[in-house]
Every structure is written in structure tokens, then in C-alpha cells.
Assembly symmetry: C2
Homo-oligomer: 214 residues x 2
């Protein structure tokens, strides 16, 4: 069992391994190997074994890994052995799309949906009803909400983040295209869609220029 600190790249890959395992399980596969996991996760088998070894030894030598067991262990490592209660702030199309994103329910329980638009308040959703943002702090406390997901326009995001922190959430996932400030003990994950496109266009343009010059 390793006591060393875990590379953050490893954490990102654990998420991928978990997704692969869920896929294998869906296909009825019960046993797997570092080789197979590597193939599906698009990394090397060395990498898979090393990543897992940071946390413990979950496989059987000469045999491989049990899919359900490894899945359970990864969920535990990622803090997903219980569901996190989630507030989604900003119920435009993005917020609504995320509320219904497949697989969300396996690890998260969205129990609060907020917006400031009076026209939206009361509107029913698949998993609840849109409530006024002003009630958010109260709801966060009442329902023990731990994670806040921000899907409001950029200019409102920092304000929303501050209020979520005040209300007592433990972490923030931000989809607005700004980098948010937060107290250093509140982790914030900033997701930016255009980042993906920009990275992609970097690789595409480099490929098209055939080894770009000077």
C-alpha cells in the first residue's frame, strides 16, 4: 500500500478506468486485465497497473482483475461509494441537459435546481422543480447539499460561487467560461467547453501544416 502522494494525472485516469469498468459490466464481462483496461482507456498496461498500485493491490497475479470488485474499489477511492447531493444553479438549456446527463445518477443525486428567472421558477424537471435562487442557502442546509454546479452566464458565476460557498457547499463544478476564485479549502473544478475545441484545433492545424515551420 502506497503512502506516496498521488499524481493528479492518475486521478483523472481513475475516472476513465471507472467508466471503462462500467462499460465492461454492462457488456457482461466479469474478469479483465491491465491489458484490456489499457486498450479501452487508451493508455499503456504499465500505466494502469502503476496507477492502481498507488492505492493498493486489487488484482490477482496470473489472473487479472474482477470487474465488480475493481469497480467498487475505484468508486471508493474516488469518493463515490455514496451519492453526493448536488445543487445545479442556472437552469437554462445547459443546466437542464446536465441534470439529465446519463450516468449522473449513478454517483450524484441532484436535489436542488435554481434559477433567478421568475418565468422558470416552478417549472417541472425530470428530477425535481426549479426553485428561486434566493432560497438556495436554506435548501443547501436543509437537504445537506455538498456540491454546487454552476451553469449560469459568465458574469454571474463568481457571485453564485461566493453564495454557494457561504451556504456551505464543499466543492464547486463551474461550467461558466471564467476562472473562479474560492477559499483554498473549497476545491473548484473549472470546465470550459471551448478549451476542448481550442486544443483540438491546435492539433488539427498542426497536422494540416504538416509539421509546422519555425
Amino acid at each position: 500500500m502506497a503512502k506516496t502522494k498521488v499524481p493528479s494525472a492518475t486521478v483523472s485516469r481513475l475516472v476513465t478506468y471507472l467508466r471503462v469498468l462500467e462499460d465492461l459490466e454492462r457488456r457482461g464481462v466479469l474478469k479483465t486485465s491491465s491489458e484490456q483496461l489499457a486498450e479501452e482507456a487508451q493508455v499503456t498496461a504499465f500505466q494502469v497497473r502503476k496507477d492502481l498500485a498507488y492505492f493498493g493491490s486489487y488484482g490477482t497475479r496470473g489472473v487479472g482483475y474482477s470487474v465488480p470488485l475493481l469497480k467498487r474499489e475505484l468508486r471508493r477511492l474516488l469518493g463515490l461509494s455514496r451519492k453526493w447531493r448536488l445543487a445545479i444553479v442556472g437552469m437554462g438549456r445547459l443546466g437542464q441537459a446536465l441534470a439529465d446527463y446519463p450516468g449522473l445518477d449513478e454517483n450524484f443525486e441532484p436535489v436542488g435546481f435554481f434559477d433567478v428567472d421568475p418565468g422558470k421558477i416552478g417549472q417541472p424537471l425530470t428530477k425535481g422543480t426549479i426553485e428561486p435562487f434566493a432560497k438556495m442557502p436554506q435548501v443547501v442546509r436543509e437537504r445537506g447539499i455538498e456540491i454546487g454546479m454552476i451553469t449560469v452566464p459568465a458574469q454571474a458565476a463568481q457571485e453564485v460561487a461566493d453564495r454557494l460557498v457561504q451556504a456551505g457547499v464543499k466543492g464547486i463544478l463551474n461550467f461558466a467560461p471564467v476562472v473562479l476564485e474560492a477559499p483554498k479549502d473549497i476545491p473548484v473544478e473549472n470546465v470550459d467547453f471551448l478549451a476542448g475545441l481550442s486544443r483540438l484545433s491546435f492539433f488539427v492545424s498542426r497536422h494540416m501544416n504538416e509539421r509546422w515551420t519555425e
Copy 2:
């Protein structure tokens, strides 16, 4: 001017620097420094200078960087000095939200919106009209579409990707929660929303357990 290969982490950070520069420009700031960029991008000033130095020298010693100039250079480096033509496949809420995502227009031009649902076809959007997916290959050729964005359900994503590649796109940005296969000269960027939440919950739960044991 460096000839060395660029760390892929550096490319991701360039995207962030560009976003920061756009923000500075919006605030009317004309000159900046590695210090300031580092602050806003949440990295060290060493890192900023090193990252930029992989590509050239864009600053003035003793002075700093010109915001518009550095912005232009970063856009060039990222292949964003012209707009990429974009097809969005899957016009559910996620597809529609992304079509209107702020800042998209600065670097991308969505010129094709596709769905298989007959009920959606013909529906007007902010930037166009939903067309039948069957017409996608023809439209990709006619309008010179270079990048395909996939926002369909997971089970349809691979099929869509294959058809996009056949139709001749140069790169794919995938929002469906699966890892896609593609020919090795076609870059694919797989975005997974739950990845962000899972990473976040890892950090939150570790923090809550106060240095997690064994």
C-alpha cells in the same frame, strides 16, 4: 525559437492564457506581465514564461507583454487565426446550449446543425436551422466543414463519428460519455462532464476525511 516538442500540458495552458488575455482586453488592459498572467491563470510566473518560450519570444524585457500582440500570437499558435467551420450533430438541449455558448463565435463558425429526429428538422436556431443528419456528408463538403462536434446519446456516438470522418472532417469533439475510436490521423477530444464531478468528489472527500488513511 524552440524546436523541442511541446508538452501537451502547455497546450492546455495556452488556451487558459488566451482566455485571460481576452478578459484583460475586455477590461481595457493593454500591457501585462508573466506575473499578472500567472495570477489570473492560477499557475506560476515561471510556468507562463516557459510555456510561451516554447514557441517564441513575445514580450519585451524589462517591460512585459502587449495584450493585443500576445493575444494574436496565441491565437495563431492555437490555430485560431481564422475561424474553423463547425458541424454540431445532435440538437438536443446540450447541442443547442453549445451552439450558443459565449465566445464560440470568436474562433468557430457553426455552419451545420444536424439531427435525426424528424420533429426537430427545420426548427430555427440562433445561428441556422436544424437539418437532417442524412444530409450531413453533403453539407460538410459543400460548406467546407472541418470540425465535428458530437452531442448525441452515447450509443449513437461511434456511428456519428465514423460518418463524420467519412465525410471528411479533420477533427472531432465528443461530448457523449464514451471513448471514441478514430483513424490515428483524425484527432478526437473526448469531453466527459462526469469526469469533472468525479475528480471534484475525489478532492472533496479527501479533504473531508482530513488526509485519508491507508
